[in-house]
């Protein structure tokens, strides 16, 4: 696939320019593919742990999305993040794994499995956030409440909710990383 016609690149380019709906579509589009890759590499870890890893990869993609140069091919960037996080997940569970980067490209799309069960660990990490951050992540993520409504419910300005959400997600990644080590 050439980079000009890669629909993921188009979506992330729009997302990085501020289009939140394109960003949601981007994340939804890459998730089944990432899940296929993680399950294929991590069969021994079991389905629930695999989903944890998928969530780790998504969180990493989110927090590192500014490291993609919009004129560079998207997929090598995405697989490099996925590979890094999968290797990390194995290391955390005491297994060393060698993942040639080329393997990732081969895995594509073919293995998108059914949507799995909840990933319990992320729930634990959320419980470790401060109460207000927890409330924001739960409302926005689990209940699907908009940022504006979340702000009204919690008596916060919309901008403050945005900042708090961003901090909470960064904090989640730190907690996940600590947990992995």
């Amino acid at each position: 696939m050439t980079q000009a016609s890669d629909p993921w690149a188009t979506l992330l380019r729009a997302a990085n320019a501020g289009d939140a709906r394109a960003y949601a579509r981007f994340l939804q589009a890459i998730t089944p593919v990432l899940r296929g890759i993680v399950r294929n590499k991590g069969r021994v870890l079991g389905e629930a742990v695999c989903e944890e890893v998928v969530q780790d990869v998504l969180l990493a993609v989110h927090l590192k999305r500014h490291t993609w140069r919009s004129d560079a091919p998207l997929r090598p960037w995405l697989y490099a993040i996925a590979r890094y996080k999968v290797v990390d997940a194995f290391r955390a569970r005491g297994t060393r794994i060698d993942l040639p980067i080329d393997d990732f490209a081969d895995d594509l799309a073919a293995h998108s499995g059914p949507d799995p069960t909840e990933a319990a660990d992320m729930q634990k990490m959320i419980a470790m956030l401060d109460p207000r951050a927890q409330a924001i992540v739960r409302k926005v993520g689990l209940d699907g409440v908009s940022i504006a409504e979340t702000g009204q419910d919690l008596g916060m300005k919309e901008g403050a909710v945005r900042v708090a959400l961003h901090r909470a997600l960064k904090q989640l990644a730190v907690l996940r990383q600590r947990y992995v080590e």
Binding site: N16, L27, H66, T67, A119
Partner: protein, 209 residues
């Protein structure tokens, strides 16, 4: 938490992170200015600093260290991206050129004066000051790398050390009056290598994500 719920939280977070190049410039430029100011205020520039820049052998100190700085810094910016891969051979050009200059200097000095040229008078000052001036530049580069997504932390840390050490040595050279390549290649080189080793160690820990 279901993955679709996580996606919803992520999509709601519309904070736009700044570009890595901007982060780097905002750290590195003040670091260089502070280094220059500190050398000027504490040690002083050499009286003939401007004249020395016009002579080939003394100015090589700046040229070699700044080439090292620029080459390693470029590599750091590449390694800040997760898929970034670098070819390291361009880094060899600086030590090779330095070696050639050392051989030339060794051959052109009368036998009795070589040891004096090598050890100079300010070896200790050089070995202490160059790493000190390098601290802020290295920190600025590591901070940029940490905001990036480095998948080779030790290598990226080492390159940050080479770049920061190179810049530190280039700044120190404005003070230093030891113009023999036997001196500056040896002791600047050693100082830069020390910075590189420490930075590699820090990188291997700090640059995980």
């Amino acid at each position: 938490m279901k993955t679709e719920d996580l996606i919803r939280s992520l999509a709601a977070d519309t904070a736009q992170p700044g570009r890595l190049g901007v982060t780097l410039a905002m750290g590195l430029i003040p670091a260089a200015v502070i280094g220059l100011a500190a050398v000027w205020a504490v040690l002083g520039f050499r009286p003939d600093a401007v004249a020395a820049l016009a002579k080939p052998v003394p100015v090589l100190r700046h040229v070699l260290t700044l080439i090292l700085f620029a080459t390693a810094l470029r590599m750091c910016l590449t390694l800040a991206r997760p898929e970034g891969r670098v070819r390291l051979w361009p880094l060899l050009l600086v030590p090779l050129a330095a070696l050639a200059v050392v051989i030339w200097a060794y051959a052109s000095l009368p036998p009795g004066t070589r040891a004096m040229a090598l050890f100079g008078k300010t070896m200790v000052v050089c070995l202490v000051t160059v790493p000190l001036i390098s601290v802020l530049p290295v920190a600025a580069i590591l901070a940029m790398l940490r905001r990036g997504a480095v998948t080779r932390p030790t290598l990226a840390g080492a390159l940050a050390g080479l770049a920061g050490g190179g810049l530190g040595a280039a700044i120190y050279a404005l003070h230093c009056t030891e113009d023999s390549p036997l001196f500056y290649v040896t002791w600047y080189g050693l100082a830069i290598l020390m910075v590189t080793a420490v930075s590699a160690l820090i990188g291997s820990r700090l640059l995980r994500w």
